[in-house]
Symmetry: D2
Subunit: 410 residues, 4 copies
Amino acid sequence: MDFRYDDRTVELQERLLAFMDEMVHPAEAVAARQLAAAENEWTRPPVMAELKAEARRRGLWNLFLPGTEHGGAGLTNLQYAPLAEITGHVPHLAPEALNCAAPDTGNMELLAEFGSPEQRKRWLEPLLEGEIRSAFCMTEPEVASSDAANIATRIERDGDHYVINGRKWWSSGAMDPTCEIFIVMGRTDPDAPKHKQQSMILVPRDTPGVQVLRGMHVFGYTDGAHGGHAEVVFDDVRVPAENLIAGEGMGFAIAQARLGPGRIHHCMRLIGMAERGLELMCRRAVSRTAFGKTLAEQGVVQEWIAESRVRIEQLRLLVLKTAWLMDTVGNKGAHTEIQAIKIATPSTVEWILDKAIQAHGGGGISQDFPLAQLWASARTLRFADGPDEVHRRSLAHRELKPYRAEATSN
Amino acid sequence: MDFRYDDRTVELQERLLAFMDEMVHPAEAVAARQLAAAENEWTRPPVMAELKAEARRRGLWNLFLPGTEHGGAGLTNLQYAPLAEITGHVPHLAPEALNCAAPDTGNMELLAEFGSPEQRKRWLEPLLEGEIRSAFCMTEPEVASSDAANIATRIERDGDHYVINGRKWWSSGAMDPTCEIFIVMGRTDPDAPKHKQQSMILVPRDTPGVQVLRGMHVFGYTDGAHGGHAEVVFDDVRVPAENLIAGEGMGFAIAQARLGPGRIHHCMRLIGMAERGLELMCRRAVSRTAFGKTLAEQGVVQEWIAESRVRIEQLRLLVLKTAWLMDTVGNKGAHTEIQAIKIATPSTVEWILDKAIQAHGGGGISQDFPLAQLWASARTLRFADGPDEVHRRSLAHRELKPYRAEATSN
Amino acid sequence: MDFRYDDRTVELQERLLAFMDEMVHPAEAVAARQLAAAENEWTRPPVMAELKAEARRRGLWNLFLPGTEHGGAGLTNLQYAPLAEITGHVPHLAPEALNCAAPDTGNMELLAEFGSPEQRKRWLEPLLEGEIRSAFCMTEPEVASSDAANIATRIERDGDHYVINGRKWWSSGAMDPTCEIFIVMGRTDPDAPKHKQQSMILVPRDTPGVQVLRGMHVFGYTDGAHGGHAEVVFDDVRVPAENLIAGEGMGFAIAQARLGPGRIHHCMRLIGMAERGLELMCRRAVSRTAFGKTLAEQGVVQEWIAESRVRIEQLRLLVLKTAWLMDTVGNKGAHTEIQAIKIATPSTVEWILDKAIQAHGGGGISQDFPLAQLWASARTLRFADGPDEVHRRSLAHRELKPYRAEATSN
Amino acid sequence: MDFRYDDRTVELQERLLAFMDEMVHPAEAVAARQLAAAENEWTRPPVMAELKAEARRRGLWNLFLPGTEHGGAGLTNLQYAPLAEITGHVPHLAPEALNCAAPDTGNMELLAEFGSPEQRKRWLEPLLEGEIRSAFCMTEPEVASSDAANIATRIERDGDHYVINGRKWWSSGAMDPTCEIFIVMGRTDPDAPKHKQQSMILVPRDTPGVQVLRGMHVFGYTDGAHGGHAEVVFDDVRVPAENLIAGEGMGFAIAQARLGPGRIHHCMRLIGMAERGLELMCRRAVSRTAFGKTLAEQGVVQEWIAESRVRIEQLRLLVLKTAWLMDTVGNKGAHTEIQAIKIATPSTVEWILDKAIQAHGGGGISQDFPLAQLWASARTLRFADGPDEVHRRSLAHRELKPYRAEATSN
């Protein structure tokens, strides 16, 4: 057992931290001004193009992509995780600057693993170049989408085409005008076994019948800088049959494959968000005075700071171990741990950010600090891929399995 | 001891509930559409004027105002509290419809109690008529304003005028174009004893030197429908000396007098918000199915519902008792309880609303349900009149006082 | 609505507080010495007889008993509740000193309401005199006893007798050598409807076949001073048919009737225990110094104290309202509130006592302060009459009922 | 970074688990019977001698001791930690069976590192042989002992002797009749700098003036099987000057050196206790039925189980990383992490054990399951080496240090 980061990780951490200090942190205020002056809330801030060019120049591009075949940096999950953490310090700029932003990362992995050569050429390549963005259309407003069996959108074969009908929401990134391609989950065969009914299909945004209705709000935020979260109606949308990914009935399997890395990335970024929150809390604590003492001298604030540190250290280790398990025994072998980090991370980071907000007084909930928006992201991730309650239920089932077997055999 | 509402309260509850059902709930969607179509976020939705006219017609106007001298309904705090609760079901419409919205209520009480006849005629009357709105400029960005001794804004005598210099924020309502008058807290005499340094003064919004800079955001919301929360700079603002309220050095005393009723109102509305959240949670629970059962049949959701009910019942009783104490022994005699409800209510209601959100999945954090915005209001109130921590500290001091005395005398 | 205690309550509170100060508090150390020197852990400390005689002399006897018919003081639940609270300051001495200790109180109420004249003469009278004690044998080790349908003990008619077979545990008081009578719950008719299967029967402790096996421990305590918590086996125990209480099939109804007042009493005593804990915490806080400041000056301890006060105030009001409801609309009408206080009180008081312990360092968990034993009592009450989870489940069902009906009718 | 246990650890884990299954678990009931039948509560159960002999035979002896010089197994902290965890499954038998029980382990390490050759021969050797036991006399009843500067016991030079006067409590193990030697912390020079005033000295239990007054209780338990927790008075106790350990003024430094490994051991055992609790909770959940379903099928219990697993995984990793840091950068370099595990582990394990208790109903708090006693141990450890609050305060200071420096330099 060894808790040291390897040399390549350390080198990349240093390089990325330098990029954050020199480019990303200074760009925070610039992007805010550009967004405030923008025509509408979905406009990309021009500074992003500069960040992307510079990240690429510095060799900080597509770090998330496993293997080197498609231009990935060849990092393991364990090597990438601490880098994803660092991008969490500025989650609305840094991940995209490195072409490592959700949902594009998951979509690129999906295309790399399951896409046909034609699909990869047409969509994966421009995504890897950072020329276009993509959306993943899974969740539906009418059903508890954490249970894949509930998905109601239909994908029906009609000659050389598939016809798609359904309503999706929380399709993140789809409000971005550069978002050109949607990966849509739907049912091709309602009579197949439960996990063989679904398929995934590529739907270009400009296909007739695709209506991007509106952006969903997250608390009061539109997350415009991320491309928002769209509600999308698919009304008799026809796409060529070759747009289907990996074959009919593969939807559930692809979704499962997509989840593991996605959660690791989310969780590592959340840890970076927690570190940012703790840093701001400490900075505030030493500079603000109330009732004759700085906040840093007040026991209640000290408890927040200590608890935050103690919780972050535990979370990070569990996420890193999960990454290591994915690398060594595969996503399936890491199933329990992947679920564990999904349960533990968003709610813990939410707690830390709440305390950081409280230490800032009214400013903490306002646009003057990044804390309220970071908090809203953490809160939102308590729903991503299903609410915490679903994950706890599933993890408990696995924990109880041997005891159930034992009880039955008695 | 008797836990029954008196007849007048019961009659008014019924009348108000009918108004809510017939007018306010139907107006929720109307107001949302009007706001979405409005020129800017500070525009008042036209439906408000209709609600106000109808509330007045039904005898549901200025219920908050103690006594009958200035047109108040003559209700005690104990009688008004359950009515304020009901307005909390739709906090962005109902309180204003009844001319019972903060900060106007506190400002009207202040003017009724401390204003000169001229001040009352000029400002209190149009406020009581609901013709104009008002703001209360207390909190400052640079200092921990929960400690009044920190207030930095200066109010200096210059002949027949006072000259005001300072920067305020979280001046709620001040973004509303109909907000015509600001009550500003500042220091007139920095050399006086700590609680005699401050004064309050009336500053018409159109006075030269008053700059309403921007609206502060609350978790992404601008609270435009409430008139927002402004940052305001006062730069050599001159007003006639007779604009001073109740005399130099009275600022702290007036602020104290204003707090008690303000907190009761906030807390009662919060309880109404919690009831709304619980109602939505129950409605969702019986209508949503996941993993083969409705949420209502799932133990975890049952725990949320039961805990919510148990906590609401406790909170309401404590708030009602506090109102009764204010009526019978005065605000000073109710000091501990006023602080206790300020500590207990926002955080508990925040917890209930969080669970209601969780039961709604992604929808819960979006604009499709009122829950996320209700949550943001509850979270914000953990800061109002100083953060919870300040109130706990102060309440502990009072609890410890007899023991300290005892320890010293030994 | 009126939050004042009535005159009779105030007078009795004063009289009882004087008795606590003059008699009970001084007896705490005496009883501890007597118990330490006793032959075995079930010996009654001799000081108890003195306390009982004095309480009786002062008119503080059988206050719990509704009506005056059987020698009760004629207090309402609302009048008795604040007196029960005071006995909670010294829960192992004061309730018994007043002949107001569980389970005797519930058993006496049961006999007063459901007992035949002969049963009342034989058992109720000596109980009211404080000459004997009694036990209530309900819970069973093998089943989840919170669901009455699970009760497995059999009570079978055989000529003029009933024959009882079964195993009970947590029969509180049954280790006390003066405990002479057991009220036993069992099934007389397993084929009857679910809530008509059970009956209750009087079993004198010295009946052949009754084996008091052992005392259950509560954490490491035997609760010897309360008569412990016995495991009892009933092995072909024969008692005359007239020992049956109120008729076959009445067991569930009697149990329900017994619960309401029992919970009120428990909860009020718990609030007294919380007040004791808070008092000790404050006393410690002003007298103990660490890192150059008294605990009372440390923010973390201040938070504990403030939160404790805020929670106690809320709990007390809810318990008092519940008592008032029982008096005005009956136990059935107060069902939700009775459950609510059962859910809220033990866990909240446990929290307060935990903080009081923490403020005492190692001493807090030891025999040098009453805190650890008070804590163990509060923790135990999270199980009494079924665990918290069962009560929350049931309360949620009632809260959801109107929504279910609405959902069904749509 | 690598999360695999090394081969030696894996081999020892297997060997130890076999010993637990074959010897220790079967001995649990035996020891309980022997203790129940024992003359007094401080009697050692005879089965312990058998366990010790067998552990030694199997090469499971003194595993805790670093290096091999004094007969230690030469394990690193990282290798020993997972073994200590396993002993936590039966904490009142397994650690002592392996001669790895506190406080002997800390005392042996202390003597190995700081003892003179004579001290080691006289006391370390019989301790390593498991022939005698020892106590560590640090905490005092009159002062907040978490602040070493408060220690009041005096150790004064008088010719060739030292004379000791003071009162200690929570001297764990000192009630054990085989406990022959006390290591006592006291002040030799009150005028020296704060951390040079204290010294440690060896005091044989039978020295005149040593009075072992009584055993402290822990929630009703005497912890007799561990040798209890004694209150000890030192009244003009004279020992030869050569009994001083390592020189005058070294007391604080020795105490610091002793703490790191002690906490790791405590925390690892706590994790083993949590695993035991979780195992019992799962076993109960599959075997107990309430309201028509096993507990394992009820959402609330599933949440407990899932949360327990998630928290255990995080804790274990943090403890293991701390062990690794101690091995690689030393106790000083691991200071933050040592404090972090002390903060996180006892309270988290307490939470898990509370849930396991709740799943067991009344049985959970009784002597029929080990849960209540495990809980009491975890609760007690929230005080060991100072309460959690002291550790959080200290950790926060370290976290804030760079920000303080930065704020000062601006």
